[in-house]
């Protein structure tokens, strides 16, 4: 009875391999480079115990009642300040709290995408952005990337060829999956192109706080004088992901649509955890907290890079991310990361095959490795196993 009943989008669904892999990470024996888990030891558990009590005592039942879709006022103010420090001028009322930054993507699809509309994105791009956009039936055009981010000439070529382009989706900072950071020149050039072509940019920025070399570039939104950049971010990587608190900032005209669509989507984001995060930032030194996190992540990235250099055979290239949580590996053409994954799982190691990050598929010889959620010991051990498998494979 169901074949004709499901919507088309439900018929073609595949599980996110990342999410499925997450289920495996519960098992202590598996070394999973597949997830995108922040390091648990960075979560302010003890502080939250104190804050829960304070927030409930001071605000009483309001913490547990229905609330407005826009989100908690105090948190809007805090976010406006945090964005100000990045060179973005924004008023608290120009911010919508979302149930994680993932919901910002779901709402983006709802606001902009009808069937057949074109989304421009980096090649590769964030797997779960594709999953969030797909229910609205868009098409994708992938923009080629190099170490400096998306390639402007390729972007122009695609803009010239297509009339139905609605948005450009980009992660300029420590991109998921490649770990790349868009150069300053590229950022400026991209904003020029957007202005010339009247293009809406969706800037997804979950990772910029996790900068290893102290050399962050300003967000695209900071260059935006025309209200054409929609800025998505989250507390998932700076406080914790389990509370599901992110945000969207956009021009008033655009944000109004996000707010209205948010209402039908889940009414509002959990108010208690919005309050907890606001209070955490007011009371504690989040800058120092992030600095501590960076030390952990950088050390893990260095460990991964050192292990790759030590254990991977020749002929394999990889990024050296200056921030974020992921490293991108390109294997020789003839090696399939899908086959590698099957063999690796047998030896207790998981990762995500790179093809999952290309809307058009292909690129079977790529893979994404997460370094943020694993101890250095596990990283070394896991990379060593991958290296052994790759060495065997190359001998064939």
């Amino acid at each position: 009875m169901l074949k004709d009943t499901f919507a088309r989008r439900a018929l073609t669904l595949k599980s996110s391999e990342v999410r499925e892999l997450l289920k495996l990470t519960d098992s202590e024996d598996i070394i999973s480079f597949g997830g995108g888990l922040p390091a648990e030891e960075t979560f302010p558990v003890e502080e939250m115990k104190i804050l829960c009590n304070e927030v409930l005592s001071e605000n009483g039942a309001k913490t547990m009642q229905y609330a407005v879709s826009e989100g908690y006022d105090e948190l809007h103010k805090i976010i406006a300040e945090l964005m100000g420090e990045k060179g973005i001028t924004v008023e608290p009322c120009d911010i919508l709290i979302t149930s994680g930054s993932q919901q910002g993507l779901d709402l983006t699809a709802k606001v902009f995408l009808d069937e057949g509309d074109v989304v421009l994105c980096e090649s590769p791009t964030y797997l779960s952005a594709i999953n969030a956009f797909n229910p609205c039936y868009p098409e994708y055009m992938e923009i080629e990337m190099d170490e400096e981010g998306l390639i402007i000439e390729d972007l122009k070529k695609k803009l010239n060829k297509n009339k139905n382009i609605k948005i450009l989706y980009t992660i300029p900072d420590y991109q998921n999956p490649t770990g790349r950071r868009m150069s300053l020149e590229r950022r400026k050039a991209l904003m020029d192109v957007a202005s010339n072509y009247d293009l809406i940019i969706v800037e997804d920025n979950p990772y910029s706080e996790l900068c290893f070399d102290g050399n962050n570039f300003p967000p695209l939104k900071s260059f935006d004088t025309e209200g054409r950049v929609i800025y998505l971010s989250t507390f998932s990587k700076t406080v914790c992901p389990g509370f599901r608190v992110g945000w969207v900032s956009a021009s008033k005209e655009i944000l109004k649509k996000y707010i209205l669509l948010k209402q039908g989507t889940d009414l509002h984001t959990n108010f208690f955890t919005q309050m907890l995060i606001a209070r955490y930032i007011e009371k504690y030194d989040i800058k120092a907290h992030i600095k501590d996190n960076i030390l952990i992540y950088k050390k893990r990235k260095d460990t991964m890079l050192d292990s790759i250099k030590r254990y991977f055979p020749e002929g394999i290239s990889y990024t050296d991310p200056q921030g974020g949580m992921f490293l991108w590996v390109t294997l020789p053409q003839m090696i399939s990361s899908r086959e590698l994954l099957v063999n690796a799982m047998k030896r207790g190691v998981a990762f995500v095959q790179g093809s999952a990050f290309y809307p058009g598929g292909g690129h079977e010889n790529t893979m994404r490795l997460n370094f943020s959620g694993l101890t250095e010991e596990k990283i070394t051990k896991g990379v060593k196993i991958l290296g052994e498998l790759l060495t065997e494979e190359l001998k064939k």
Copy 2:
């Protein structure tokens, strides 16, 4: 630049009048019958202080980490038990935790609805269900209701006339907005029709715990031997709404689609509050808690009904709900509840005009009154003001 950029669904958006009215309820001076707020005094604030500490101490960083989309295992078990008490046989793995029951509706649209697909619903129906479904561009066919719920003959007529029907959306218990409870005979007849016409039923059940006369009928899902009922519910009315924890239960084949679409929508529901609610139910007596709530709600409903009888002029009909949070008023044909609302707002009273609950509009002479979120004093005062305005109006 934006007119051609927004999706069609974003161009026609109207704000939910209920949500906009919610914003007004912050003002102490307004008597708002417009929202759907549970009574704040029922929220277990003190218990939560204890539970926050326990959950964080026992589970540590896991409370704050990314989690699986399906939700918290312990909560699945608790829900399966609660559903079992209602005569529904369900395994924990047949339950998906959602970010409030509203998200269950958003996911329902994603799983079933393509442009032009038909949703059958009660006339009137829950406003925010329409808002949740609309982004997928369905059409609606309203099924006429009487005091026993939707009218089976009208349902059959519409089923015979239409080929593109995907789902029937119904709230059998203390329906929002009318407060009506579907009779047992109607429930059985509906299930027969569904089987004969191979119809999928979405049973939205947020209110059945709030039963005033101890005379709940079994949910539709309890009669379902063919996996054709999708059951949505929530802890919003039994514990608290601000935590945004609801659930969907369906056959494995259907639920799998919900889970996959949940991933792209917000990855997973806030894990900390899932744990808090699970622990609350394990540790405290939720049955006794609900009993206390019922006493409050019943008293408020009685107060509203008494006030209506006392202050409303002749010629106005209204429901006498045996549960839930809403009462439905039908004014004489020539009175517009929209105009009444404008005048009422001037005197500090708000409600939702009934036409908002009809996908096809019309029915300007109806209105929804919420009684759960106001003190008896406010209810009496607000109904008196409405009565005065109606008396004036009828004299014209």
